[in-house]
Amino acid sequence: MYPENFRYTKEHEWVLVEGDTATVGITDHAQRELGDIVYVDLPKVGARLEQGASFGSVESVKAVSDVYSPVSGEVTGVNAALADTPEALNQDPHGAAWLVKLKLANPAEVEGLMSAADYVVYVGAEK
């Protein structure tokens, strides 16, 4: 369920690090909590994100959730498909429905994040 090569945050985001680039998304747990997703608000390419700071939001009909960046960096790619099909986030949150790609400012930040195993325990505990 939760890919081993991802790292996870307490706010239910995931990050996949490949060298000095990262891909960020929200977890399956997050999309299930939100319900049917209707809109995703994302930053523009070039925006600077800070670890722990909100960089956008995900909306269902009755709720809005901020998304917080797991790492700091500059946005190099934004998933444009989500503008037309936000429901992809419900279907494939760990794959096709990634949110942004970043050039990492500080690769060491990843070390503080949860592993897949830790995250599974965390969401089990949260229930």
Partner: protein, 427 residues
């Protein structure tokens, strides 16, 4: 019932309130009166107001005929006493009517999307300004002096607390239209971020009744990366005037559409905009969808913009929409329809020109149904005193809002103004 509640007297229901807070005397209000006495009371108040006067006042509130169908529709209990349509299954009447309203406002203004109404025109303006600020990421706003003076006051009240500097630009003395050079100057160079304008706000027809230069103002605004907000106070003008194709946001007042002047309220404002600014709009929005059986249905939508979900990050704190008032306007627009609104507008123009021919128009710019007249040989206030004796309420003396126009008054003639009463008015 008291037994079921576990108390022996109604007062016990409040026994848990701290002694210190309880009111230990009756309210100092007169005893309740009967239905007839209530009618009597308000009839007496009405008698203390102007009665049987012809009026040439406009200035943001207009005397237009209210078709009989309007009250017939809004008096229905299903519309009058229903709640906000949060439960779509049992509110399709209200929701459908609002969807039709939103559509008609788009058709009238040429915009892509309109909301389910704002409190009034005056509060729609700061809401539009805040929308422009959110959309551009800038804060400064430029507003024409030709925008209704009270609307500008409201804008300032809101802007002050939003860190939104408001600057006014003037009008051309001869035409009464906006001074484009003044506007260009004030847009400022694009040097400092802080000086960049989020929006330029222009009213047309403006407070002087003059059809203003919306297209040219838009060109200047857009060249500097700002949005153009077009304001209107006389909705009937949209029956004949070219809609503001270059505006980004339209904020206006619908009182002319069968809403009683009622000493200033309740009215209904509109906010309409381009599709790309849709999610920045405040206020309620009704959208089309299907029910589980595939039938067309309507519901409130994009609610995540609103206060009950986004709370302090909402696009506005507004909760209400003026649903019943908007319904009056919807019925009005239906009764007059495609041809009628245009005919009504042409009537207004004819009447106003007849009146203007008897007076000394101060401005040369084209006007709809209002114009500024210079009064010679006496003050506008004195002219009005003379007219009052003939049971005519004259125009609005402008000195209070525009000291440079202290010898002028603003007059309005509508389809309800008679030739006979206009003949009585002489400058």
């Amino acid at each position: 019932m008291l037994r079921a509640c576990g108390v022996s007297s109604p007062d016990e229901l409040f026994a848990h309130l701290p002694e210190a807070v309880r009111l230990n005397r009756p309210l100092a209000l007169d005893p309740g009166i009967s239905e007839y006495e209530i009618v009597d009371y308000f009839r007496a108040r009405a008698a203390e107001n102007a009665h049987g006067y012809a009026s040439f006042l406009g200035a943001g509130v207009y005397n237009h005929y209210r078709p009989v169908l309007v009250d017939a529709v809004v008096s229905r209990g299903e519309f009058l006493t229903s709640y906000t349509p949060y439960q779509a299954e049992i509110s399709q009447g209200t929701l459908t009517a609002i969807f039709e309203f939103q559509t008609m406002i788009c058709q009238l203004t040429g915009m892509d999307v309109a909301n389910a109404s704002m409190y009034d025109g005056s509060t729609a303006v700061p809401e539009a300004a805040m929308m422009a600020a959110r959309s551009t990421g800038r804060s400064r706003v430029l507003v024409a002096r030709g925008v209704h003076p009270e609307y500008r006051e409201v804008l300032r009240t809101y802007a002050r607390n939003q860190g939104m500097p408001v600057e006014e630009f003037g009008y051309v003395a001869q035409t009464g239209a906006i001074d484009l050079e003044d506007l260009e100057r004030r847009m400022g160079s694009d040097a400092a971020d802080a000086a960049l304008a989020a929006a330029v706000i222009v009213q047309s027809p403006n407070f002087f009744g003059v059809v203003d230069q919306v297209k040219s103002a838009a060109e200047i605004a857009h060249r500097h990366g700002a949005l153009l907000i077009m304001v209107f106070t006389e909705a009937v003008s949209l029956g004949i005037l070219e809609p503001p194709a270059d505006a980004d946001i339209v904020a206006g007042e619908l009182q002319s559409f069968a809403i009683s002047p009622s000493y200033g309220g309740p009215f209904a404002g509109i906010l309409a905009t381009r599709e790309k600014y849709m999610r920045q709009m405040p206020g309620r929005l009704v959208g089309q969808t299907n029910d589980a059986r595939g039938n067309r249905a309507f519901c409130l939508t994009l609610s995540t913009r609103e206060q009950h979900i986004r709370r302090e990050k909402a696009t506005s704190n507004i909760c209400t929409n003026q649903a019943l008032i908007a319904l009056m306007a919807t019925v009005f627009m239906t009764v007059y329809g495609k041809r009628g609104l245009r005919e009504l507008a042409e009537r207004n123009m004819a009447k106003a020109r007849y009146l203007a021919a008897k007076m000394q128009p101060r401005f040369s710019g084209p006007f709809f149904n209002e114009f500024v007249a210079r009064v010679e040989g006496r003050t506008p206030e004195d002219l009005n005193k003379v007219l009052l004796k003939k049971k005519i309420v004259g125009g609005l003396p402008l000195g209070r809002y525009y000291p440079e126009l202290a010898d002028c008054m603003l007059l309005c003639a509508t389809e309800m103004s008679t030739r006979a009463s206009m003949d009585e008015v002489r400058a």
